[in-house]
């Protein structure tokens, strides 16, 4: 770290950078690009769900041989649904969210010059980039991309005879995800080591902002669970290519018996969900951390129950690794296991409730500064509660029987982890944009973006619960084969209209984001009057973050509106005043 002023070329500064701030921007831009693809796909399949058999020039233009006269084929419908899920969960909400903000904020908020290993960090990003390229290129495979759902349950995902997407498309999916997991592990290890080793003088674990706690714990969950998905994927590759029978047994398809004997798809389900469930917390915890920070700062109040917030992050993380079976209540697994997983799953509602109440109490008697980041944070709390509560239905094995795999589930997880995590991501972008680009995003566009998105999100996902409760299974290309579901057609049209509205609202964000990078108003050093360390660094980025000594920390990050202080915020680097007690 001795020489921060060595000459940088374009390549080392913008492409193969080892600077965490640049890497964070790379993650964000890649995440946004993948997000555009993912959201666009949802627009396409929502058109199909609302108006099956109707010709759309949009679909004709984009789907080539996978459509007939502007109507998509059932195979490509399933493929789009699959890739939408994959992209949104992994590429946008894992890499795009965690990758962006862990990278940006961990060194800046703990007072470190950079990540523990800048090189590993760079490799992590470029592996993510490579996996994104492979995933996107799988869209152009002749037989179509992977189509077995983002959960890729075999045998459907193992047998090209069962669905065309399980040929080359699935192979690319598996390769892409294997690389993605390698990237994610490198990132996570880096985050953990950095938080443990590189905190500045005085930055004890109980003076860390909640963002850092969230990123730190998220990284630990990732290290524990992602390797299991990698092994699941490897065994699937063996079954697909080398004739093993880990997941397959007794299969008769297209007039012939296959040689597989003795495997079980239920094994795959266990392995998949051992990652798959913690994965939703990998997605939501960073958003929770971001929201905690933004709500405290914009309420001009300390976060309520700081230690309880840390405790709930840790207990959610621990419990998240012992609840995976709630995705498998009707998989044929022993019903006794169902009872165990019901118990652990409903336990997780307790720390979640603590968090929700603590956020609401933080607002109470605050002096709320309604910046766009704050709107999205309040929106986060709302969607997290709405989506979280229906988890009580789905986490209860008995009740899950009749709503499992229906649109009720789709509504639930989109609210609680999809919309909420995206809100957290938007909140983070609006809040830390000045730190990333030295400029401010436009406020008014931010307001429009939030309100249209908020109305559209509930307009989509609230009525969707009813579609599920009417018994309509998810992943149906059309519900025209069942007169029983004729009366949900209207609801589906309403949902699609709101979805298009919500999708269009994101154009406002894109415009605001990209224009502000170049033309936004120049930022001041601490625009939100925040206490945390990142706002003590110069606006213009320097390699090593602080031009001189790294400041030492003397207090926790939430001394907002502390009685006896001249201002309503006190930076963490301010020593305690005479006679002042630490909060």
């Amino acid at each position: 770290m001795s020489d921060h002023h060595h000459k940088e070329t374009f390549i080392t500064k913008y492409v193969f950078s080892t600077d965490h701030k640049m890497i964070s921007k790379q993650y964000l831009i890649t995440g946004i690009f993948m997000g555009i693809i993912g959201v666009f796909m949802s627009m396409m399949f929502r058109l199909q769900i609302a108006w099956p058999d109707t010709s759309f020039s949009l679909i004709e233009a984009f789907l080539g041989s996978h459509q007939d006269g502007g109507v998509m084929s059932p195979d490509i419908y399933l493929a789009i649904v699959t890739i939408h899920g994959t992209i949104m969960v992994f590429f946008v909400l894992t890499a795009g969210l965690s990758g962006t903000f862990s990278n940006l904020l961990i060194p800046l908020q703990i007072g470190a010059r950079d990540m523990a290993s800048g090189f590993l960090n760079m490799v992590s990003y470029w592996l993510f980039f490579l996996s994104s390229v492979i995933m996107v290129s799988s869209l152009f495979v002749e037989a179509g991309p992977a189509s077995a759902g983002w959960t890729i349950y075999p045998p459907l995902s193992a047998l090209p005879q069962a669905i065309p997407g399980s040929g080359m498309g699935m192979t690319l999916w598996l390769i892409s995800m294997a690389i993605f997991i390698a990237s994610s592990l490198m990132g996570a290890l880096n985050y953990i080591v950095t938080v443990i080793n590189l905190r500045t003088v005085g930055m004890t674990m109980t003076r860390l902002p909640l963002t850092i706690w969230a990123f730190f714990v998220t990284a630990i969950i990732g290290v524990v669970s992602f390797p299991v998905l990698l092994s699941a994927a490897l065994l699937l590759i063996f079954d697909r290519s080398f004739g093993t029978s880990f997941y397959l047994s007794d299969i008769f398809i297209q007039g012939e018996v296959l040689h597989y004997q003795g495997g079980s798809p239920v094994l795959f389900e266990h392995l998949f969900w051992f990652l798959g469930h913690p994965e939703v917390y990998i997605v939501i915890l960073p958003a929770m951390g971001i929201v905690s920070e933004i709500i405290a700062c914009n309420s001009r109040k300390p976060i309520f129950g700081y230690r309880a917030m840390i405790g709930s992050i840790i207990s959610i993380a621990f419990l998240s690794t012992v609840v995976w079976g709630h995705h498998m209540f009707v998989s044929g697994m022993n019903p006794f296991l169902g009872s165990v997983f019901t118990f652990t799953t409903l336990l997780i509602a307790i720390p979640s409730a603590v968090k929700a109440f603590n956020w609401i109490t933080t607002l109470w008697k605050g002096n709320l500064q309604m910046n766009p980041a704050m709107l999205f944070s309040i929106g986060f709390v709302s969607t997290f509660i709405s989506g979280g509560l229906t988890g009580i239905v789905l986490g209860d094995s008995a009740l899950d029987i009749n709503v499992h795999d229906t649109y009720f589930v789709v509504a639930h997880f989109h609210l609680v982890m999809g919309v909420s995590a995206i809100y957290g991501m938007f909140a983070g972008v609006y809040h830390w944009f000045p730190k990333m680009y030295g400029r401010m995003m436009n406020k008014t566009l931010g307001y429009w973006h939030f309100w249209i998105t908020a109305v559209a999100a509930y307009g989509v996902f609230f009525p969707m619960h009813f579609v599920g409760l009417a018994g309509l299974p998810r992943r149906y290309y059309a519900n025209t084969a069942f007169p029983l579901f004729d009366d949900v057609a209207d609801i589906n049209i309403l949902i699609t209209l709101f979805a298009i509205l919500g999708g269009a609202a994101q154009l406002i964000f894109l415009a605001n984001f990209f224009i502000s990078i170049y033309k936004g108003k120049k930022a001041t050093q601490n625009p939100w009057k925040s206490n945390t360390l990142e706002w003590t660094t110069p606006i213009e980025h320097v390699h090593g973050n602080w031009p001189g000594e790294i400041p030492s920390v003397h207090r926790w990050p939430y001394d907002y509106s502390k009685p006896g202080q001249p201002k309503d915020y006190v930076s963490q680097i301010t020593p305690l005043y005479e006679g002042e007690e630490e909060s």
Binding site: L78, I253, K301, L368, S386, T390, P473, F482, L501
Partner: protein
């Protein structure tokens, strides 16, 4: 209606573009007191929209929901569901109100200082213990229903039926006079023996294959599920019943039908739903629909996943027995071919 929404959409996009052009003129980038005021009021308005949407959905869409449970076990399911839903809706109503109300009430004013309130063990104990107690109640109730539904070991003389899944069709097999299913394996699939029944097993001979599932009212049925290719899920929503069909293993679910198809057609909620459906069908010039129970596929299984179904007919036990005895056994079917 649709056109109106399109126009609304175009209008909003228009405003967005107009906003974009004025972006660079705006000097203020941080929320002012005026912004706090406007946005706080908007949160109150959004709260009203939020409750309005909830009430609208319950009022308008309750008719599309499934009618009363058609199985004995499902009645307990419905009750558990009601209790859980009431808890959820209560918590939802209260917490969302507090959230939007606080956002409105405490919107920032320049010369006000927020209350420095960092901790309260008492409050935190309350919202740890209260959810814990409520959830404990729901868990205990849920688990009692779950073990009740999943444990069919105490069934007296249950009817045993195999449900067999494949891309993209359902078949079924009754265990016959001996009430014992003959062994099955995909390696036996040949010609008319589409379920791969082992014809050398003496239990197989009296088994009765079918493509329409007839069930007797009032008798417990134990379903054994198999699949020949990929995962499927046998979903019988009217009976609150679902189980995956897994290649290579036999899974099980059990329930006791309590309402015949004819009775269900006369159920008030069913009639309201069917009337709604038929109104829509009449507008499209389609034949009227008559209610039937269904078994659907609820696990993504391939291109025609969305069409995979089997009709279920629940009859009085005497009618069922008459029907069953008129059916050919698998031995007869195989012999004929």
């Amino acid at each position: 209606m649709t056109a109106l929404l399109y126009i609304l959409l175009a209008f909003i996009i228009g405003i967005a573009i107009w906003q974009i052009t004025s972006i660079f003129n705006l000097k203020s980038v941080i929320a002012t007191e005026k912004d706090n005021n406007t946005q706080g009021i908007l949160f109150a308005a959004f709260g009203i929209f939020f409750y309005g949407l909830m009430i609208f959905c319950f009022w308008k869409y309750s008719v599309v929901l499934l009618p009363d449970s058609a199985s004995v076990e499902g009645v307990r399911y419905d009750h558990l569901y009601m209790v859980t839903m009431l808890v959820i809706l209560f918590v939802q109503a209260v917490t969302q109100f507090l959230l939007f109300y606080f956002a409105f009430k405490y919107r920032g004013i320049n010369d006000r200082k927020a209350l420095f309130y960092a901790d309260s063990h008492k409050l935190e104990m309350i919202w740890t213990i209260v959810p814990a107690v409520v959830l404990a109640g729901l868990v205990l109730y849920g688990l009692s229903v779950w073990s009740d539904v999943m444990d069919s070991s105490d069934a007296e003389n249950p009817l045993i039926i195999e449900v067999y899944a494949k891309q993209f069709q359902w078949e079924a097999r009754y265990a016959g006079n001996d009430n014992q299913l003959g062994r099955g394996n995909v390696r036996n699939i040949k010609g008319i023996n589409t379920m791969g029944v082992d014809m050398t097993d003496k239990n197989s001979l009296d088994d009765i294959p079918t493509r329409v599932l007839h069930l007797p009212k009032g008798r417990q049925i134990v379903f054994k599920f198999r699949s020949q290719d990929v995962l499927h899920s046998a979903f019988m929503p009217h009976f609150r019943a679902q189980m995956n069909c897994v290649p290579g293993m036999v899974t099980q679910f059990s329930f006791t039908p309590s309402i015949t198809t004819l009775e269900m057609r006369k159920n008030e909620k069913t009639m309201a739903k069917v009337a709604g459906i038929n109104k829509i069908r009449a507008e499209k010039g389609e034949d009227p629909y008559e209610f039937d129970y269904l078994l659907l596929c609820n696990k993504i299984c391939g291109a025609s996943h969305y069409t995979m179904q089997m009709k279920i007919i629940v009859q009085e036990e005497a009618d069922f027995n008459t029907w069953l005895s008129s059916q050919k056994t698998i031995a007869e079917v195989v012999q004929e071919n």
